[in-house]
Symmetry: C2
């Protein structure tokens, strides 16, 4: 089934805001068997929106729009949809009630502009937006093609898609079908080598099942999708294929389920009732930031030291200055002293540390840009390794953060 | 003049990678007077790419494609462009030379797949990609409409656009026109209040000049664009309008030029020859990360402490435990002790500190989610303030980071 996504908003077109909604929708509905054929970004202009809708409704079973639903004058999507699908605008009391509740929760006062959001086209089915005030609208054309208008705020679109809209889409388009999936997180193998290893497994998968490779630097998300008639496919078949998949990929599995590198590391630390900390030079706080973006991390994460200057490595983490002088800050000796120093200082059982050259300056023939020493520490001891990551400053930092967190998880998982 | 951007790549369509190229292109060419009318994201499929190109070339003077130019079998854009614009593929020795140089610099060996990148359509003008191996191609249709094919790697596209491609576009489309702009960074005023304040200024701007508002949370980038015939508009006119604009917005200017909050803070600290550090609770390392993403920050940034757990606030930063017990971690007293503690520990003249509730859990009636205490410290003393930021965890952290860095810059700039 074909899906088109239309992103509405001058702020996206002007490059002021980066659209992340389309990627989220594509990933989420991909697991339900939808193929995204096109993403179009258009201005808050009636003609442009209308043209995009007409183009997409032609060849797509489902069209999802995001944005253009706010109460300000820029937002013209709602009356336009009313015009396209016919019928009048009507006042919807359930929407008004939802808006009052949302405002109440936020401690805000209603204004007339907000009440106007309770006006909706009669031709649509309303899906209450429990995370915001703009109602979600479901339109259906005579040929069965569906358009769903969702808000532009990522928090609202993501939450409502997962909790309500995606299940409703599955119900409408594949009412008698089984839809399920399992995810594995894979590391230490390239995507192409993994695909080669799984060639026979994929070829022998029963109809309705297939593998999706979702690679990120250092970590591959491997998703097993099952879609098909309830009579021929179900949880039992999915479980059996998943068991086989786990066997085939056993040496490379770092987590069974869907998780980021930070979530994988926190999970490993949490299972032992330990605490985690970090000492960061080249990653400059990115490891701490990545961990603390996870809500609820405070049961295992205590804090970090970003020791950018050598004086901080010595003065705060207790790295002997002679060590830095003799081996340089980017060395096995210094990163090992950093990780042990921060574990002591923070009174944590587990720690990771990085010291490297993120670039663009600071590289040498011996230690070119991208060279990063990483150390991981657990009650079982300390290990350090050096790698050279490709790309610019931001990619080197990002990759070094991922590798440090995964290395810690692997060391803990290897525990006898 | 109208611009369309086509983003090519399954990885974008599947939601594996977030496209940032289109926003960068739109922002950059916006300063040259280009209006982006459409962004289309399509798969690595010949029919889809062809259809997008045909649609966009109709109503746009300029079409820029990104992606689809790599050496692997997925990438079919180059032969397709050759077919659309006519003529054969030819081997281009200057491109081959560039590829050899790039590989040499990276210490990599050439393989036949890479050499194939030196094949280009005869119908295009090649722009050497000094940051990568995929050549940039400039096609011109008989009606004067231009298509430029750029690589998908953001680092390459951004660098080459600014250094080569944008100036070439300006030369081709507006050869006798003056194009210039000035940027101001504005804070402590909403976008709508600023627009109201500048209503008369904007109305009285000479033809060819206009203001662009580029708001981000906590900071507005205000850009004055000048485009027009060299006989009637030039540097002198732009300077005069810019001088007036500075007068009109004086109380709200935090930086003259284009800069992020972290760059503004580092600049203020650097001008005094000082050092900067941070003590972070709710921002969890995001301030450190934001600063260290700036290459060359090490002349003023020494390091940070992320003191997530209260024991770290006391044990490492020296915040008296009684203070935390009496006032709570999210309080003026504790954030003040944190900022002074970290300045002492890190031996830095300037420091920022945050303590707040990023959510979604941990809020109370008295201190709801989004409440953040921020402290800034300079040789002139310490100040603290509390604000409540809207949005989810990620937005609260992002906003708290921006406000802390701006508050430090403002305190330094107020210096007698």
């Amino acid at each position: 089934m074909k899906l088109s996504i239309i992103v509405i908003g001058d702020e996206i077109l002007l490059g002021q805001v980066t659209d992340t909604n389309s990627g989220f929708i594509s990933r989420t509905l991909g697991a339900y068997g939808w193929e995204t054929v096109r993403i179009m970004t258009v201005a808050d202009k009636a003609d442009d929106i209308r043209h995009a809708i007409e183009t997409c409704m032609e060849d797509s079973n489902l069209v999802i729009t995001t944005g253009g639903l706010g109460p300000t004058k820029d937002d013209i999507t709602k009356p336009l949809l009313c015009e396209i699908f016919g019928g009048p605008m009507i006042f919807d009391e359930t929407v008004a009630e939802n808006i009052r509740e949302v405002f109440d929760k936020r401690g805000l006062k209603l204004n007339p502009l907000t009440e106007a959001q309770a006006m909706v086209p009669q031709s649509c089915k309303v899906i209450q937006n429990r995370l915001g005030t703009a109602p979600i609208m479901w339109f259906e054309r005579r040929d069965g093609h569906v358009l769903i208008a969702m808000p532009g705020v990522p928090f609202e679109t993501e939450g409502m898609l997962v909790s309500s809209v995606a299940p409703m889409i599955a119900e409408r388009f594949t009412p008698d079908e089984f839809i399920g999936h399992r995810v594995l997180m894979i590391t230490d193998i390239t995507e192409s080598a993994l695909a080669q290893r799984l060639e026979r497994f994929e070829a022998e998968l029963p109809e309705g099942m297939h593998l999706a490779y979702l690679p990120t630097p250092g970590l591959i998300r491997l998703r097993l999708d099952a879609i098909g008639n309830c009579g021929t496919i179900g949880e039992r078949h999915l479980d059996e294929a998943y068991r086989q998949l786990c066997e085939e990929t056993a040496p490379y599995i770092i987590f069974k389920g869907d998780a980021t590198a930070a979530e994988i590391a926190l999970d490993a630390v949490r299972r032992h009732g330990w605490k985690i900390t970090s000492a960061e030079s080249c990653t400059g706080g990115d490891i701490a930031h990545t961990i603390t973006m996870i809500s609820g991390c405070s049961d295992v994460y205590v804090g970090s030291v970003v020791s950018y200057a050598n004086e901080i490595k010595s003065g705060v983490l207790g790295v002997p200055p002679e060590l830095i002088e003799r081996h340089g800050a980017v060395s096995q000796e210094v990163v090992t002293a950093m990780v042990e120093g921060v574990a002591r200082l923070m009174n944590a059982e587990c720690a990771v540390a990085t010291s490297g050259i993120a670039g663009p300056g600071g590289g040498s023939d011996e230690k070119p840009v991208g060279t990063v020493w990483t150390a991981v520490h657990t009650p079982d001891g300390t290990e350090a390794f050096v790698k050279r990551y490709p790309g610019n400053r931001s990619r080197v930092i990002d990759r070094a953060t991922t590798e440090a967190l995964l290395a810690l998880a692997k060391k803990i998982n290897r525990r006898p």
